[in-house]
């Protein structure tokens, strides 16, 4: 068969373009797979959490439940409890401790002054600093307001861990990928509450859906004194603390 150089190039160019177009089309066909929770509509939810500081007893149930539910490696925490101890004369410098994240509860410190527990968790910020720094699109805010990590895309570069002003992220020592609270995304998309809220004995934590008009969160936010952590950082934090002491960082 005789073929000029130009004809050969034209033929091969056509071949390459057509196969790539066909491959793209096939990708679209393959992408039409069923979702894991078929009845869940992401556009109808905007998840947040309310924490009633006055109800937290520091039992550590949330920390243990989170570790069980999400297989959190030992010594790392997706949620943890801090104990604040504030002397009246020294309120700018609270004493904070969190032995093993509160996993085993807290031994009594028998200290005078103001003592209280603060449960901490990812704030699932609407304008989250951690997602903005990710160089590969491995962490993101979902359309329903949950900040998640794509384990398959994460390089383990730790930018997000440094960017989070709340210290909510860590590097999983086995997978070498960034890990954080998923707000139990596998549970809330099935109609369950998070593991920490499910197991909080005093109801100090409650999962809330800001897009659901019937959620009691709306009345709660209106009628109580509610703060977020580090409001000056303008992260759009969505974990709301009732009656938060000004000394809490």
């Amino acid at each position: 068969m005789e073929m000029t150089r130009r004809e050969m190039l034209r033929q091969s160019g056509k071949f390459i373009l057509l196969t790539s177009a066909a491959a793209t089309a096939w990708e679209y066909v393959l992408a039409g797979k069923a979702e894991a929770s078929p009845n869940y509509d992401m556009t109808k939810h905007w998840w947040s959490m309310i924490i009633d500081v006055d109800k937290c007893i520091g039992c550590g149930n949330c920390v243990r439940a989170c570790a069980t539910e999400n297989d959190v490696p030992e010594g790392y925490f997706r949620t943890w409890i801090e104990r604040y101890h504030i002397e009246d004369w020294h309120s700018d410098h609270p004493e904070v401790d969190s032995p093993n994240g509160g996993f085993d509860g807290f031994p009594d410190n028998h200290k005078q002054g103001k003592n209280f527990f603060i449960p901490k968790i990812c704030n699932h910020c609407a304008d989250s600093p951690c997602t903005q720094v990710c160089p590969v699109g491995a962490t993101f805010v979902t359309p329903d307001g949950v900040v998640l990590v794509d384990e398959k895309y994460c390089l383990g570069c730790r930018y997000c861990i440094q960017a989070c002003p709340y210290g909510c992220r860590f590097l999983n020592p086995k997978k070498n990928t960034a890990e954080k609270c998923t707000l139990c995304y596998h549970r809330i998309t099935k109609g369950l509450t998070t593991a920490c809220c499910e197991n909080c004995p005093t109801g100090a934590r409650v999962l809330a859906d800001l897009k659901n008009p019937n959620d009691p969160v709306h009345e709660f936010l209106r009628t109580h004194s509610v703060q977020v952590l580090k409001p000056h950082m303008a992260t759009g934090a969505k974990v709301f603390y009732k009656n938060l002491d000004g000394a809490v960082r």
Partner: protein, 155 residues
Amino acid sequence: MKDFLRSTEHLSRVVLLLALGLIVFLLIRQAVIPAEFGKYGHFRPGALDDIRARPVNFAGREACEACHSDQVEAKSKGKHANIGCEACHGALAKHAEDPTSVVPELPKTEVLCAKCHEANAAKPKTFPQVVTADHSNGMPCNTCHKPHNPRISGD
């Protein structure tokens, strides 16, 4: 015309090389980036399905209440009415799936109750707390208190 082609031949080769490079780049890009990337934002939508597909370990109180209506009844009258079952009994999604072969163990009350009710200066003042060593001296709490409705006079 012939002169023109001859004088630009070295350029056309470069252009061809660049075009080929572009095609190779586009092909690799096509192969590496998932088709739906960017559907909801700068991320892979498949990650949502991956995360949703994780197993549930805590079945949730509704699942427990479907079978254990007697315990719900006992619990509803006491101070522990709003506590989730698995807060004390542990993660039992496997039991909810297969109640006969996976049977939960009863928690030891002298350990379990103290996790919440051991006295601590940081606990809210209205929360019932005891120093267990003075209060019961190591006796199991359920000798006197029924865990589902702990008030001693209440039944």
